[in-house]
């Protein structure tokens, strides 16, 4: 089983947000709505399909952290075009347009760089 401390740390997502964002800042409703729009953007929405399998832990399934934006985009395009590929990722990548792949790659690399 997992280390309980690990679970607690992972569980503190809202605390992380407040810490990362600086709590106590007054924001107008307009700013707040704009913020929600950013945090629930098309890229965030589409990339939510990735995090069920991919995390920062590298292993049998690749970590996001291995690639920058162009590297990630190229890797996904390679998966998409490789007709002999045997993995789940080959079959999944074929369902995304090049624009979708660019969107997801931009979002994930932006988040990677932000950290």
């Amino acid at each position: 089983m997992r280390n309980p401390k690990f679970q607690i740390i992972l569980g503190s997502l809202s605390a992380l947000c407040l810490a990362a964002c600086g709590s106590g800042t007054d924001t107008s409703r307009k700013d707040s709505v704009a913020d929600t729009a950013a945090r629930t953007s098309s890229g965030a929405l589409m990339a939510s399909a990735c995090s069920g399998c991919h995390s920062s832990d590298a292993g049998a399934i690749a970590s996001f952290e291995a690639y920058d934006q162009s590297g990630l985009e190229q890797r996904l395009l390679d998966y998409k075009s490789d007709e002999n590929g045997t993995t789940v990722m080959h079959r999944l990548a074929r369902g995304y347009s090049d624009a979708d792949i660019a969107l997801v790659s931009a979002f994930l690399s932006e988040m990677r760089d932000a950290t």
Binding site: M1, R2, F6, Q7, I8, L10, G11, S12, L13, S14, A15, L16, C17, L18, A20, C21, T25, D26, T27, R29, D31, S32, D35, T36, A37, A38, R39, T40, S42, A44, M46, S48, A49, C50, S51, G52, C53, H54, S55, S56, D57, G59, A60, I61, S63, E65, T86, T87, V88, R91, L92, A93, R94, G95, Y96, L108, M111, R112, A114, T115
Partner: protein, 424 residues
């Protein structure tokens, strides 16, 4: 250098859309939002955690009757290998420490007009948005003789936990040469390839420990998920330990008798010391109470927001939904939870939800170190989920053992990642 825990956390928050520079939400509509989530499986727990990070000021309550969650994916390995059931268990500690209130009780009623949920203990929870992730209920008596009491003798083990332990103990008590029977219902049901992974794991167990015994699978269907791949694996690994009968070979069962350990088809009666009845299913009972299920027993939803087609401000995610071609899987429930949470966060902020591309992946073990997979990609525009043509599909037939070993390793990694995202 960032520590492993921090990196994972940052990554997770990144995927959730929390960038540096994001600000807490103080808008009146958001800060006062009360969100109630019923069901703490892959869907409900994932939704609670994402909403908690997207709307840190909202009051989020997760209603779950069990103190710990016992995951179904990988529970077939508990039956066929030495994997302990404890490896399937997850607590809600991470959710609690993340500010999510856990109501350790059963939801018994929903008032969609006055917008509150009543718990078995009498407590009422008012909501602005309700997310139901109730999973499945078994349709007792849909097969004549298969009652809740009969399941104590003929386990379904289609909800992991005591039923898994019961089926495992029955296998352990089997004498060499005695047979095991499994019955499989018509679609739709939780985890389409699940019965066939289970057949593989039981056959593996029999081959190793009861070599003169075999598993007889009585199936209400003639075709099933990853069929050619499973049959290839069975021919290679278990030629003497699995006998599969489809509908055309009188595989559909009409009745069971728990007192004699028998199952009946149109033309046959089969008795065995171990009978695993996987019965027909429906959405969890609270869906009926809330008025979000239809005549099929499942819940029609808007595929962009996962809001019920039948009740406003109630969303339904996971196995309970009518989301075909997206299957009833843990992956689907987890992704639907995230798509729904983002839609709810946008909606509470006055921003319309938007369509996207969804996906699914399901791995199935055929031996303890070999697995096969199916994947799908879906659009949710035009009021329905539809498969993206040219994408998805199953592992290659006739592939090298290294391909199967790699997918088994990926399956294990997937389980670790998705349970960390859902439960911490």
């Amino acid at each position: 250098m960032i520590g492993a825990f921090d990196r994972r956390q940052l990554l997770q928050s990144a995927v959730l859309g929390l960038g540096v520079g994001a600000l807490p939400l103080n808008a009146v509509g958001q800060s006062s939002a009360r969100i109630v989530i019923v069901g703490g499986g892959f869907g409900g727990s994932s939704a609670a955690r994402l909403l908690s990070s997207l709307l840190p000021e909202a009051k989020i309550t997760l209603v779950e009757a069990n103190a710990t969650y016992t995951a179904c994916p990988f529970s077939n390995l508990v039956l066929g290998t030495d994997r302990p059931l404890s490896a399937q268990r997850f607590t809600y500690d991470a959710l609690k420490s993340g500010g999510i209130e856990i109501a350790n009780d059963r939801a018994v009623n929903v008032d969609p007009e006055l917008k509150f949920v009543t718990l078995a203990g009498g407590q009422s929870l008012t909501y602005d948005r309700l997310i139901l992730s109730p999973g499945i209920d078994l349709r007792w008596n849909a097969i004549e003789g298969y009652t809740q009491a009969a399941a104590d003798l003929l386990p379904h083990a289609w909800k992991a936990g005591p039923q898994t332990t019961l089926l495992k103990s029955q296998l352990d008590a089997l004498a060499d040469g005695e047979n095991v029977v499994m019955t499989v219902p018509p679609a739709p049901y939780r985890c389409p390839p699940g019965p066939y992974e289970r057949a593989s794991m039981i056959a593996h167990y029999l081959k190793a420990r009861r070599p003169r015994s075999k598993l007889i699978v009585l199936d209400a269907k003639d075709q099933f998920s990853k069929m050619a791949l499973f049959q290839e694996a069975w021919a290679e690994h278990y030629p003497d330990h699995i006998e599969w009968r489809g509908a055309i070979d009188d595989g559909g069962i009409t009745r069971v008798d728990a007192s004699t350990n028998s199952v009946f088809t149109d033309f046959d009666e089969i008795s065995a010391p171990v009978i695993n009845v996987i019965p027909p299913q429906k959405a969890g009972a609270i869906a009926d109470v809330a008025g979000v299920s239809d005549a099929t027993g499942w819940c029609p939803i808007d595929p962009i927001s996962f809001e019920s087609r039948l009740q406003s401000d109630i969303h339904v995610i996971g196995d309970a939904t009518i989301a075909a071609p997206m299957p009833k899987s843990a992956f689907s429930a987890n992704l639907q939870a995230k798509v729904c949470a983002i839609a709810v966060a946008r909606s509470l902020s006055g921003i319309a939800p938007e369509p996207t591309v969804l996906a699914n992946t399901c791995y199935s073990y055929t031996t303890p170190d070999e697995a096969i997979s199916i994947a799908g990609v879906y659009n949710n525009e035009g009021g329905r989920l539809s498969s993206v043509s040219g994408a998805g599909g199953v592992s290659p037939l006739g592939a090298d053992k290294t391909v199967r070993n790699a997918e088994a390793a990926q399956a294990e990694h997937w389980f670790s990642t998705i349970t960390a995202e859902a439960f911490g």
